[in-house]
């Protein structure tokens, strides 16, 4: 009984928030649609319709190759960057890494919107080209094309590939690279025979992640794709919106998932590496000193630096443009600048609707994080006390919503809430956000718990504290930094979320959804001002979270080693 009891809430969560929505999505895909209402009668007609539909076929093929292309290009850009950061940089490594992944936390909406602002008909690029006389009138060739979608998705994908590739590269013991040099292999051959085989699994994970995100993205094609650039995510969404055919949408989502799963399986198979990297003390990791370089080596070095620096420009130009144009006097984001103003910030702070949306967003994010902290910590404590083999499958399943494409998660949840009779409202959005915020909190806390020496808790109980007091006085202080870090991360994730929220929210929009709606009606630099504020807030929170998480890493020192 004592072993079953703590497990029960985990299974309850798993069944209600993970298994049921996904199963119901499958079930809904074989139900009939009757004028916008799901009829609980079995049919395979939805799948027939999906397969028959030339539009769906075209869209899914286009979606798959756009996503693959974007992931591939992102990998080509990110891998050399990651290699340089991991293997060549000696100082400011962490800064270099943070700078690549910070855009991940700057809302997806901002990043996509930035491209629209740069490439739109009245956008920065057009006005610039007219200004310098290349064009006579604005061209519509830059926006609303498949290429724009491709470019934006690549932009979004780079940080994912970078971070997984970088992590894999950091795990390669430096002595292996030295051993390769020692065996007579120069830099390039070492890269080909040792570094690439040992890091390609990491690259593949990032590639798969980027692919997953791109394939079901809804924001990008909807905002910069136009008719030409539309993708399957938009089509699925429209079945739950305007088209009002939920079962068909569910069938499309499942077909998409199957296609994606197939691709991911192929990627995983291709990237598989024999052998196992074991935790061994790496090489010296100290500055080896500088050799005089030949002209060829200097040229090579210059090339490496270029490949390393250029992507940063690509990553930050759009973001900088958003911020810069929030101070532009003109309503239209075009060059040249018409004057500097804070008018748009004033508009922003006077707007009651924005205020309401912001309050709702904060309410959602705050409640989500509060619940996620309690539940996630509780679950982590249960998992920490059990064998890993038992935990890993459960953990993986609990974290499934984190990996699910946003559109699919949103669709699955909306179907489940419909079936369970949970009406639209704030509680639905909070539950939706919890499905992906709770596992993240849980995993962060669990990782910290597994680093802690179990003898701390044993010592506390040995000294007479019961489990509760042990938790409060001993575990909690040691988990504090992990909890704060996780909470801040959860806040940004929830605050920025748009796709799932879009499906679940009722009439009241959260801030990103409100902005999203605004963007459809037109554009004012107040949007830039909003995004600049959100961006700066996210940035500060991420930096804070990183610092706190790093500060807590010192807890690792185990008592047995501390004395040695």
């Amino acid at each position: 009984m004592r072993r079953v009891l703590p497990i029960a809430p985990i299974y309850l969560w798993l069944i209600l928030l993970v298994v049921a929505p996904n199963l119901l999505l499958i079930v809904a895909s074989v139900w009939k649609n009757d004028g916008g209402v799901m009829l609980r009668e079995f049919t395979v007609a939805n799948y027939g319709k999906v397969l028959d539909s030339s539009t769906y076929r075209l869209l899914i093929v286009r979606t798959l190759y756009t996503a693959l292309g974007a992931a591939l290009l992102a990998a080509l850009i990110a891998y050399p960057m990651a290699c340089f950061a991991s293997l060549k940089l000696r100082r400011h490594k962490l800064t270099a890494v943070l700078l690549v992944i910070i855009p991940l936390w700057v809302s997806l909406l901002i990043r996509v919107f930035a491209w629209r602002m740069l490439l739109g008909e009245n956008g920065v690029l057009n006005s610039f080209l007219i200004e310098i006389g290349v064009l006579n009138e604005p061209s519509d060739a830059f926006l609303y094309t498949r290429f724009t979608v491709f470019l934006t998705l690549t932009y979004v994908a780079i940080p994912y590939v970078f971070i997984t590739a970088y992590t894999a590269l950091e795990r390669i013991p430096r002595s292996l690279i030295e051993a390769s040099h020692d065996c007579g292999a120069n830099g390039l051959r070492t890269l080909r025979h040792v570094i690439w085989p040992l890091s390609r699994q990491g690259v593949a994970i990032g590639f798969a992640l980027a692919f997953l995100i791109a394939v079901a993205d809804y924001v990008t094609p909807a905002m910069v794709g136009g008719m030409d650039g539309t993708m399957v995510g938009v089509m699925i969404q429209s079945q739950f919106g305007l088209a009002g055919n939920w079962p068909l949408g569910a069938a499309m989502a499942i077909m998409l998932l199957l296609a994606v799963a197939l691709f991911v399986a192929v990627i995983a198979r291709l990237a598989r590496v024999e052998g196992r990297l074991e935790a061994t003390p790496g090489g010296a990791g100290l500055d080896p000193g500088r050799r005089p370089r030949t002209a060829a080596e200097r040229a090579q070095r210059l090339g490496q630096w270029t490949l390393f620096i250029l992507p940063y420009l690509f990553l930050y130009t759009p973001l900088a443009a958003v911020a810069v144009f929030s101070f532009n006097a003109s309503k239209i984001p075009s060059l040249p600048f018409t004057g500097v103003t804070l008018e748009w910030y004033a508009v922003l702070f006077d707007d009651a609707e924005i205020g309401a949306a912001l309050r709702l967003s904060l309410l959602v994010a705050g409640s989500t994080v509060a619940i996620a902290l309690v539940v996630g910590t509780g679950f982590a404590l249960v998992f920490a006390g059990r064998r890993r083999r038992f935990s890993n499958v459960l953990l993986g399943t609990l974290a499934l919503p984190v990996a699910l494409p946003g559109v699919v998660l949103g669709v699955a949840l909306v179907v489940a809430f419909q079936v369970f009779g949970v009406g639209p409202g704030v509680h639905r959005v909070i539950l939706g956000h919890l499905t992906f915020v709770m596992p993240i909190v849980m995993l962060i806390v669990l990782a910290r718990l597994r680093l802690l020496d179990p003898s701390y808790a044993e010592a506390s109980m040995d000294l007479g504290a019961n489990p509760l007091r042990t938790f409060i006085h001993v575990m909690l202080p040691m988990l504090a930094s992990a909890l704060i870090g996780a909470a801040l991360l959860g806040l940004t994730l929830s605050f920025d979320e748009i796709i799932v929220t879009f499906f679940l929210t009722g009439v009241q929009p959260t801030l990103p959804v409100y902005v999203w709606n605004q963007l459809r009606f037109g554009f004012t630099p107040a949007v830039n001002a909003t995004f600049t504020c959100i961006g700066i807030a996210s940035f500060l929170i991420v930096v804070l979270a990183t610092r706190i998480l790093r500060a807590g890493a010192g807890v690792r020192a185990r008592p047995a080693l501390a004395g040695a």
Partner: protein, 366 residues
């Protein structure tokens, strides 16, 4: 004692030479190495012995080419390789953690250095088979490193370093990760292999037993400097510095005054006068006397070369095969290590006579 005078020099040119080499790492202000000078002879088993942080691994990495010195020059076989990259040096390393490529089989790991220099496939196969046999790993060719035991990985790493027939093989504490029994077994394997392949081995270790039993010569390092270079017997019986005397084996370090006495040079500490074997410079000095060089002698016997001293036993520690005696001899505290025998019984307060041969009293440089 068959020791070669250090200044006689080998008949052949040294295979590895360091000239005034020094190295400071960017991240630390303390100099990691040097400046040091060293000549390593072709075909010898040379050990670099020192505690961690003494600069021995830095020296190895400078020879391998993983690091470049701040100043000074590195020569391999007469050629200045100070700036040469590791992949252009005819030197191979056996890494402390073996550094076998985890994604390659034993065969692929062995073939790697040959592939990198474009050896043709038939030759690679022949040489791999030879090396597999040499390190006794037949049947394991298709295994991946994680499927091997520590000792097996060790042998593969050694084979990979030998397969390209380099001029020098560098070994960075290669036995550190093995348990005691395996370590002893591997010591004899290493020594046998080195004789068979006739390649110069430079062996870095902090284990004096390893260094003494395997080496032709060794260098003792301390705080980035080489304290002494010599044969194992040299270094053991004639330590030159307090550090060497204390780090290798166990010695009594006695502060004394060197004087010319009636029967030759002697070291005076308190009322004790210790006869010295040869010439010495007068003045304040420290002498080292090995614990086991202090013998218990019959009361009233006459010393041949050296002195007999009356002493009192202060403490007795029984180690099994040996007994450690704390002695007070005319105001000088000494420790003696004697072979344990059933009939020998010691107790604190017991008076004894100890004999110290003049050759065992070594005047230190510092």
């Amino acid at each position: 004692m068959p020791t070669e005078p250090a200044d006689a020099g080998p008949a052949t040119a040294p295979i590895v030479s360091l000239r005034r080499v020094s190295k400071t790492y960017d991240q630390s202000r303390v100099r990691a190495l040097g400046p040091v000078d060293i000549d390593i002879r072709s075909g010898e088993f040379f050990s670099v012995l020192g505690p961690s942080g003494s600069g021995k691994t830095t020296m190895l990495r400078l020879i391998a080419g993983f690091e470049v010195p701040d100043s000074g020059q590195v020569f391999i076989d007469g050629a200045d390789v100070t700036w040469t990259r590791p992949y252009h040096r005819d030197v191979n390393t056996v890494f402390q953690n073996y550094a076998l490529f985890p994604h390659m089989t034993v065969a692929a790991n062995l073939a790697y250095p040959l592939r990198m220099r474009g050896t043709e496939a038939g030759e690679i196969a022949r040489r791999s088979a030879d090396l597999i046999e040499l390190v006794d790993m037949q049947g394991y060719e298709q295994r991946l490193p994680h499927q091997l035991s520590g000792g097996q990985r060790q042998r593969v790493a050694l084979a990979r370093a030998l397969i390209g027939r380099p001029k020098v093989v560098l070994l960075d504490e290669p036995l550190g990760a093995l348990d005691l029994r395996l370590r002893q077994q591997m010591q004899s394997v290493l020594k046998r292999l080195q004789r068979e392949v006739e390649i110069t081995f430079i062996y870095v270790t902090h284990d004096q037993g390893e260094a003494l039993s395997m080496s032709d010569r060794l260098a003792v390092m301390h705080a980035g400097a080489i304290d002494q270079i010599g044969t194992p017997e040299d270094v053991y019986y004639r330590p030159e510095t307090r550090f060497v005397a204390a780090f290798i084996g166990r010695s009594n370090l006695v502060a004394c005054r060197i004087e010319r006495g009636a029967g030759g040079w002697q070291a005076r500490a308190g009322d004790v006068r210790l006869a010295l074997g040869g010439e010495a410079a007068p003045g304040e000095a420290t002498v080292a006397i090995r614990w086991e060089a202090i013998e218990l002698v019959e009361d009233g016997s006459v010393p041949e070369a050296g002195v007999h001293l009356p002493a009192t036993i202060d403490s007795v520690v029984f180690h099994g095969d040996t007994i450690e005696l704390g002695l007070a001899a005319q105001g000088v505290t000494l420790t003696a290590l004697v072979q344990a025998k059933r009939r020998l019984r010691f107790a604190p307060g017991q008076p004894v006579t100890v004999g110290i041969a003049s050759d065992d009293v070594v005047v230190l440089r510092d």
